[in-house]
C-alpha cells in the first residue's frame, strides 16, 4: 500500500488532525485569483509560438467519450482519431490518451495497442461517485485488469463537503492500492474533485492538498458532467497547489482541467497558466492534460489555418 509522504504523516493521523491541516492552509483571495487568471489570459500568442502551443495542446488531450450511448465502434473510431488526428497531415501529433468508461476499456486498449496513446478509464462510480466502497474498488479493479494506463476516480464530494476528510483520504488510498498491477507497476491515478460542486476556492485548495497527500498522480478539476467545469481560475489554483507541493515534498503531480475547454484560444490560455504558474516542467503531457473532445477539432482547424493560410471549417474534421 502506498504511503503518505512522511512530511504529512502527522496531518493524516486522525480526522481532526487532517481537518486542522486542511483548514490551516492559507485562504484563497478569490478576486485576486480570478484577476490573475484573467490577466494571464490576455497574452498574445502568435505565429511560431502559436504553432508550438497548438501541437503541444493536441499532444496533451485526453480524448474523451463518456456517454451512455458509447459503443465499441465509437470507441474504436475515437482511438483511430487519437492516433491520427488529421489524416491529411501526418505531422500532427498524437493525443496523450483516450478516456472511456470501464466497460469500454478493453476495446480501447485493443484499438490502441502499440500506438503509444494511453488508455484512461474513469472509475469509482463516475460521475457521481455515489456507490459503496466495494463497488467503487471493483470498478477500478476491472479497469486495471482490462489493461488501462490511467484511472480517473471521483472523490466523495458528500463526505468532503460534510468535513469527513479522512474518509475521502482513505478512499483515495484504497483506490490507489487497486491501481497496482501484478507486475509491480501502477496505473497512474487521476483524482477528480468536481470543482463545480465544491462551492469555494478554499475547498478546491483543500481538496488539492488532500488528493496530493493521498498519493494522486494527477489532480483533475471536474467530470464534465456538471454546469461548472474547468475554469482558468480553478485550474490556476490547482497549479499553485502542485507547485507548492513539489517545493515542499519534491514530488511532482500532474494537473488535468476537464470539461468546457472547446477552443484553441482557451487551450492556449491554459498553457500560459501552466507555464507562468507551475513552470516549464509541467509543459509536457506526462504532467498536464486536457480532458476534452470537441477541443481537438478546433485545434486541428487552427492547425490547418496555420499551414495553409486559409480558415478551415467543420467539414474538414471528423464528426465525433
Amino acid at each position: 500500500m502506498p504511503t503518505t509522504a512522511p512530511a504529512f504523516s502527522d496531518a493524516t493521523a486522525s480526522d481532526s488532525a487532517l481537518r486542522r491541516f486542511l483548514h490551516g492552509l492559507p485562504g484563497v483571495d478569490a478576486v485576486g485569483l480570478e484577476a490573475r487568471a484573467a490577466s494571464l489570459g490576455t497574452r498574445s500568442i502568435k505565429t511560431t509560438a502559436k504553432a508550438y502551443a497548438i501541437d503541444l495542446a493536441i499532444s496533451m488531450i485526453d480524448l474523451t467519450t463518456l456517454e451512455g450511448a458509447d459503443t465499441p465502434g465509437k470507441v474504436r473510431a475515437l482511438a483511430a482519431k487519437a492516433v491520427n488526428p488529421d489524416p491529411t497531415d501526418r505531422t500532427t501529433p498524437r493525443t496523450a490518451a483516450v478516456c472511456v468508461y470501464p466497460d469500454m476499456a478493453a476495446t480501447a486498449v485493443a484499438a490502441l495497442a502499440g500506438s503509444g496513446v494511453k488508455v484512461a478509464s474513469v472509475a469509482t462510480a463516475f460521475p457521481a461517485g455515489r456507490a459503496a466502497l466495494d463497488v467503487k474498488l471493483a470498478d477500478v479493479r476491472d479497469a486495471v485488469a482490462a489493461g488501462v494506463d490511467e484511472i480517473d476516480m471521483v472523490i466523495d464530494r458528500g463526505a468532503f463537503l460534510s468535513g469527513r476528510y479522512l474518509k475521502v483520504y482513505e478512499e483515495i488510498l484504497a483506490v490507489k492500492a487497486e491501481c497496482a498491477r501484478a507486475d509491480g507497476t501502477d496505473a497512474r491515478l487521476k483524482v477528480i474533485f468536481e470543482t463545480g460542486e465544491l462551492s469555494t476556492y478554499d475547498n478546491i485548495r483543500r481538496a488539492s492538498w488532500l488528493g496530493m497527500m493521498a498519493g494522486a498522480d494527477f489532480i483533475k478539476t471536474s467530470t464534465g458532467k456538471v454546469g461548472t467545469n474547468a475554469t482558468p481560475a480553478n485550474t490556476l489554483l490547482m497549479l499553485e497547489a502542485v507547485r507548492d507541493f513539489r517545493a515542499q515534498t519534491g514530488v511532482q503531480i500532474g494537473v488535468k482541467p476537464a470539461g468546457g475547454i472547446r477552443t484553441s484560444k482557451d487551450a492556449v490560455k491554459f498553457l500560459v497558466l501552466v507555464n507562468e504558474t507551475a513552470g516549464e516542467d509541467w509543459l509536457d503531457n506526462h504532467w498536464f492534460r486536457f480532458g476534452a473532445s470537441s477541443l481537438l477539432n478546433d485545434l486541428l482547424m487552427q492547425r490547418q489555418k496555420l499551414s495553409t493560410g486559409r480558415y478551415s471549417g467543420p467539414d474538414y474534421v471528423t464528426v465525433d
Binding site: 490547418q304 493560410g309 486559409r310 480558415y311 478551415s312 471549417g313 467543420p314 467539414d315 474538414y316
Partner: protein
C-alpha cells in the same frame, strides 16, 4: 436650454451573431458624407471579425434553413415593418451617405422597404418555381426541390448603400441561407443601422452578420474560407473580383459575379428572381411508385 445640451453621438458597431461588437482589432475609420464632412466613426473589421462572423453564420444555418418558408416570409415582412417605423433615421442616413435630397432619399428607403416585402413573398413560392416533379422513363416519382447553399458572403454594392444592400441581402436569406455581409466601405452607416432593425425583427442572431471596413481586407479571408459556401461579388471592382474568384475556387464556392446593374446607384429596377436562384442547390429525390398500370393504378 436646448442650446446648452451636449451632443449625443451614436457609436456605430458591427452586427455579428445577434450582438453588436466592436471590431476585434479595436480599429475604427472615419466615415464622411458625400461632400467629405465627418459623420461618424465606423468599426474597421479585421479578418478575425470575418472569421467570427462565419462561425456565427454557420451556427445559425441549421435553424434558419430548417425554419418553414412561411415563417421566414413572416420574419422578412417583419423587417419591413420595423424599417417603416424607423424610416426617418434611414432617410437621413441615406441622404447623407449618397448626397440625395430628402425626398429622393425617402423614395430610396421606400423602395428598400418594398423590396423586403417582395422577397418576403417569395420565400414560400420559389420552391414551386424552380423545383417540381420531373417526368422520368420509369416507375418513379422524381421530385426536385431547391435547398439553400449555406453560408454566403455578400459584398454589398459600394454606391447604393441601402437599397442596393437590401437588394443583395434579402434574396440570400429569403431562401434559407445565412449571410456575412461586407457593407459599402465608404457608406457603411445605413448597413450598420440595418443591423439594429434586424436584431428586433425576430430574425435569429447570426442569420445576417454585418461587417464594415475595407472591402478587400475583409473579403480576402472570406473568399478563401473553407466554411463559406458561396460568395456574391457585387461590391468588388473588376480586379478584386478576379482575385476573390480565384481564391473561392479552392473549395468550389458558388460565385455570383458582379452584374451589369451592380455598380450603379439606381437599384430601383424589377429585381426578378435571379438573385434568389443564384444561391440555391437542387436536391432530387427518386421514389419508386411500383409498376405503373398494375392493379389499375396510374398515380
Amino acid at each position: 436650454m436646448s442650446d446648452n445640451r451636449l451632443s449625443v453621438f451614436k457609436t456605430y458597431k458591427l452586427y455579428v451573431g445577434g450582438k453588436f461588437p466592436r471590431s476585434e482589432s479595436g480599429r475604427v475609420y472615419e466615415v464622411t458624407d458625400s461632400k467629405g464632412k465627418w459623420l461618424a466613426n465606423a468599426p474597421q473589421s479585421s479578418r478575425k471579425d470575418a472569421r467570427d462572423a462565419v462561425v456565427a453564420a454557420r451556427k445559425a444555418f441549421g435553424g434558419w434553413s430548417g425554419a418553414t418558408a412561411y415563417n421566414r416570409g413572416q420574419i422578412l415582412y417583419r423587417i419591413a415593418e420595423m424599417l417603416e417605423g424607423r424610416k426617418d433615421q434611414f432617410v437621413r442616413e441615406v441622404a447623407e451617405a449618397e448626397g440625395l435630397s430628402k425626398s429622393k432619399a425617402a423614395a430610396v428607403v421606400d423602395a428598400a422597404i418594398d423590396r423586403w416585402v417582395w422577397y418576403a413573398g417569395w420565400t414560400d413560392k420559389i420552391g414551386q418555381v424552380v423545383g417540381g416533379a420531373n417526368p422520368v422513363a420509369g416507375p418513379f416519382f422524381n421530385l426536385s426541390t431547391p435547398e439553400p447553399t449555406g453560408v454566403v458572403t455578400v459584398l454589398a454594392p459600394q454606391k447604393s448603400s441601402f437599397l442596393g444592400l437590401v437588394s443583395v441581402v434579402a434574396p440570400v436569406i429569403a431562401t434559407g441561407n445565412t449571410a456575412v455581409v461586407v457593407a459599402s466601405a465608404d457608406s457603411p452607416l445605413p448597413a450598420l443601422s440595418l443591423g439594429e432593425v434586424l436584431a428586433t425583427s425576430d430574425l435569429p442572431g447570426g442569420v445576417v452578420n454585418i461587417l464594415s471596413g475595407r472591402t478587400a481586407e475583409i473579403a480576402a479571408p472570406l473568399a478563401s474560407h473553407q466554411d463559406v459556401n458561396a460568395i456574391d461579388l457585387t461590391g468588388a471592382d473588376a480586379a478584386l473580383a478576379k482575385e476573390l474568384e480565384t481564391a473561392a475556387a479552392d473549395n468550389l464556392k458558388r460565385v455570383l459575379r458582379p452584374q451589369p446593374v451592380d455598380g450603379a446607384a439606381d437599384w430601383t429596377a424589377d429585381p426578378g428572381t435571379h438573385r434568389l436562384t443564384a444561391f440555391l442547390e437542387t436536391k432530387t429525390v427518386w421514389h419508386p411508385t411500383g409498376a405503373l398500370g398494375v392493379s389499375g393504378s396510374s398515380y
